[in-house]
Amino acid sequence: MAILGFLLTVVTTFLGLLAVTFFIGRVIPIDPALAIVGDRAPAHVVERVRMELGLHLPLWQQFWIYLKQALSGDFGTSVLTTNPVLADIKRVFPATIELATVGTIIGAVFGVPLGVLAAVKRGSLIDQIVRVIGLIGYSVPIFWLGLLSLLLFYAKLRWVAYPGRVDIIYEYSFTPVTGFFILDAVMQRQWDVVWDLFRHIILPGSLLGYFSLAYISRMTRSFMLNELSQEYVVAARAKGLSEARIIWFHALRNAAVPLVTVIALSYAGLLEGSVLTETIFAWPGLGLYITNSLQNADMNAVLGGTVVIGSVFIGINLLSDLLYRTLDPRTRSR
């Protein structure tokens, strides 16, 4: 029954997603035919393209055609790239996943200990510093920080490489297989490429990492404060366990359950493709792809991309649900 209910939610979410994006795409005051043929095309060419796109049909009929194609996995062809939308997404999504993964790893590795530290030393200087770091992460616009860090680390110090995913020199000596460049380069043992990829990903990755760090550390702090006030902590102390063991083993273990959801959600957020980061760092990912498509009224690509994001969200939610069950023994029997 639970599975059936879940499936029903997934299906209705998907249909809603498709319908909303489709109709928004059709009511925006941009002529899709114009986007394809450009301003200079003679009238009969524009008319022919309108027919080819089925724009002369009633809206509900257009939606029905779109729905049928989408359900059979055909999202049409992108106007901008002339490739099938699915092929485009297969190409750009790994770039976003790679960046989001690096970002989340950085965010979690630094965010969780900082949050724990802040909770343990509540009210101390350390707590205040962590709070300020978090506040900056929350409130500073990412494009500003992105540009400044680019100026500092790229233009002035030259520690990192130019925006983009890989240097032009390697662009044609290195053939990616899976689309996850770092993985590919490691598998092919091209260590100089790995180094170059690292120089490219480290800055945008750290930035995204910083922003998820801000969120993760705040949440960790409040979960930990909650755990540390529990009776079992008092009991553990009374038993004479070391403070470190109580904090890192007992309390964090319990705080980990909701923390997984927090990390998963922030990961899902990054997977959407952080448009601004991808723009500033010329990162050829999903966010940039959808933005470019949207600006060119390339509705097939926008719809395809939206569906992918929707699936990711649903997938991640499902995953964190499963993790929840493994980490929290109480939920297993349910």
Partner: protein, 546 residues
């Protein structure tokens, strides 16, 4: 939202970049590979590389460097053409038949020889595919039914083109310099053509290799296209089978870079050799720098704003004239378009046959007020202007808003995305539209046909020229525009265009502001990097590196 952020990003980037400059950091130069030219270039307009389909500015540059034409614009004197694949040509006495003799020993990149049959095939596929640029050729009376007769190979090295009217030879030859007339490798294209089921819209059983050429290549130019990834990269490689002087560079890479500030950073750090889309502030910063150089060339693009004649107030002749006095040409020229344009008030870009340099208007609020009083609106009125969220048009619109206010005209700016404002413009529902017009081909007819020609001013009109979009119906001028097309004598033809420009200057509902200058910043290690008078003359084959 995105545009707003982009704007902020740009502002921040430039101010931050200036701060960096002041800090005077010693620049360590990274280097691009010695045999590769790397250009930062915003080419998000590319939608297809097929010469029969492409009609975008960025694609024109790629096509020009990778394909060849019968005749090409003469860089030394842009009102003339010179032979490229064609060794010589003759025009029959009745002005209808053009006979081209090809040079000998020509080869495609594939190694196949270039024959008149390839030329005929290139015309045939462009006409039959009937994509956006096909009208350039169909305007000579070519159609799917007659193209194999009207554009055919008389023998291996003779190509004969028959047109339907005795057009001015300068017009026909100028049109043949546009990229749609590029010659493709018939053998290679035919091998890669896909079968199509004919229908009412498309009567042929092949796609003439359209799908293949969208991303593929079948040309003969100094470079061949290796790869195009939308919004990422275009890679050209030296064509070792090129029949002319071979380029010294092995590779040319266009990297898609949208922002001026980003291009400048990359250029200063040596990650790119050429920055193609710099804004005035960045140009100024680079031009004084050691190791940097700039190059520029006037382009065939005119920036203007136009008054919709459906608006009764804007349709009054005095109001039209008043608008031409209510813009601070000098201030705009010295700040907003500094380095990227020169003030121009006539509709033909400098360099084209018959182009007139007159600039009779200057900012004159008193005169404008008099005119408005005469028009019966002494207190002014309120109008809207549709403005794309890009520079320099936003800046110009804001500047004009201030000068109009001095005469009591309240201008409301409606910002929008490019495609959005254009959709509105084409539906004739705007008051004032600010935009640009780039010549489709390097001939005065291209601009005349849009600024001064309107065949049907009803809302159902299908020829959406700029005159039509602004509901302007200059019957006399339409006739003159058509007459100029058939004028055999080049001087007389030029005189007609000068006449048309004067008429538009005095009475047309367009306030023409400036002609675009394209500027590129580049490393001074580059030799022979030059921009041409149009995008299809921005050649990179003679560039070398120190």
């Amino acid at each position: 939202m995105i545009d707003l952020l982009n704007k902020r990003v740009r502002l921040l980037a430039s101010s931050a970049a200036v701060a960096l400059l002041l800090a005077g950091a010693p620049q360590a130069f990274a280097a691009t590979p010695a045999d590769t030219l790397v250009l930062g270039f915003a080419f998000d307009d590319i939608i297809s590389l097929d010469p029969a389909e492409a009609f975008e500015l960025s694609t024109a540059e790629v096509t020009a460097n990778t394909y060849n034409l019968l005749v090409r614009l003469d860089q030394a004197d842009t009102s003339k053409v010179k032979g490229e694949l064609a060794d010589s040509w003759t025009v029959s006495d009745d002005g209808l038949t053009y006979t081209f003799k090809l040079k000998s020993g020509l080869k495609f990149a594939s190694g196949n020889p270039i024959t008149a049959d390839d030329v005929a095939f290139s015309f045939e596929r462009a006409i039959k595919l009937d994509k956006s640029p096909a009208f350039l050729l169909t305007q000579f009376g070519l159609s799917g039914d007659n193209v194999t007769e009207k554009a055919k190979a008389a023998d291996e090295s003779t190509f004969v083109l028959t047109v339907d009217k005795p057009y001015a030879p300068t017009f026909v030859l100028n049109v043949l310099t546009s990229t749609v007339a590029s010659v493709v490798d018939k053998k290679l294209v035919t091998e890669n053509a896909k079968p199509v089921t004919p229908n009412d819209d498309y009567k042929y059983d092949t796609d003439f290799g359209n799908e293949f050429l969208k991303t593929g290549y079948a040309g003969s130019g100094p470079f061949k296209t290796r790869e195009w990834r939308a919004n990422e990269v275009v890679v050209l490689e030296r064509n070792d089978n090129y029949f002319g002087e071979k380029p010294t560079l092995a590779r040319v890479i266009y990297r898609h870079m949208k922002e001026s500030a980003g291009q400048r950073l990359a250029l200063e750090n040596g990650d790119i050799d050429v920055a193609r889309n710099l804004e005035p502030g960045d140009i100024e910063a680079i031009s004084g720098k050691e190791g940097m150089a700039t190059t520029s060339a006037p382009k065939g693009t005119i920036y203007y704003y136009s008054l919709n004649q459906k608006n009764e107030t804007l349709a009054k002749p005095e109001v039209i004239e008043a608008f031409k006095y209510l813009i601070d040409y000098d201030a705009i020229g010295e700040t907003l378009i500094k380095g990227i344009g020169t003030i121009r008030q006539t509709f033909l870009p400098a360099g084209q046959l018959g182009a007139l340099d007159d600039k009779p208007y200057t900012l004159n609020v008193e005169k404008a007020k008099e005119l408005l009083a005469k028009a019966g609106v002494p207190e002014g009125f309120t109008v809207t202007m549709d403005v794309r969220n890009t520079q320099p048009v936003t800046g110009i619109a804001e500047n004009v808003q201030q000068t109009l206010a001095q005469a009591g005209i309240k201008l409301e700016i409606i910002p929008g995305d490019g495609k959005q404002t254009l959709t509105k413009y084409r539906a004739r529902t705007h008051d004032i539209y600010i935009g640009q017009w780039g010549s489709d081909y390097f001939d005065p007819n291209s601009n005349a046909e849009t600024f001064t020609f309107n065949s049907d001013n009803s809302d159902e009109g299908t020829n959406k020229t700029l005159a039509w979009r602004n509901a302007w119906d200059p019957a006399e001028l339409s006739k003159k525009t058509q007459a100029a097309l058939l004028e055999q004598d080049s001087d007389k033809r030029a005189a007609i265009y000068q006449d048309l420009q004067k008429e538009v200057l005095a009475n047309g509902p367009y306030v023409i502001v400036f002609q675009q200058t394209e500027v590129a910043g580049h490393s001074d290690k580059l030799k022979n990097y030059k921009l041409g008078p149009s995008f299809d003359t921005n050649f990179v084959s003679s560039v070398s590196k120190e």
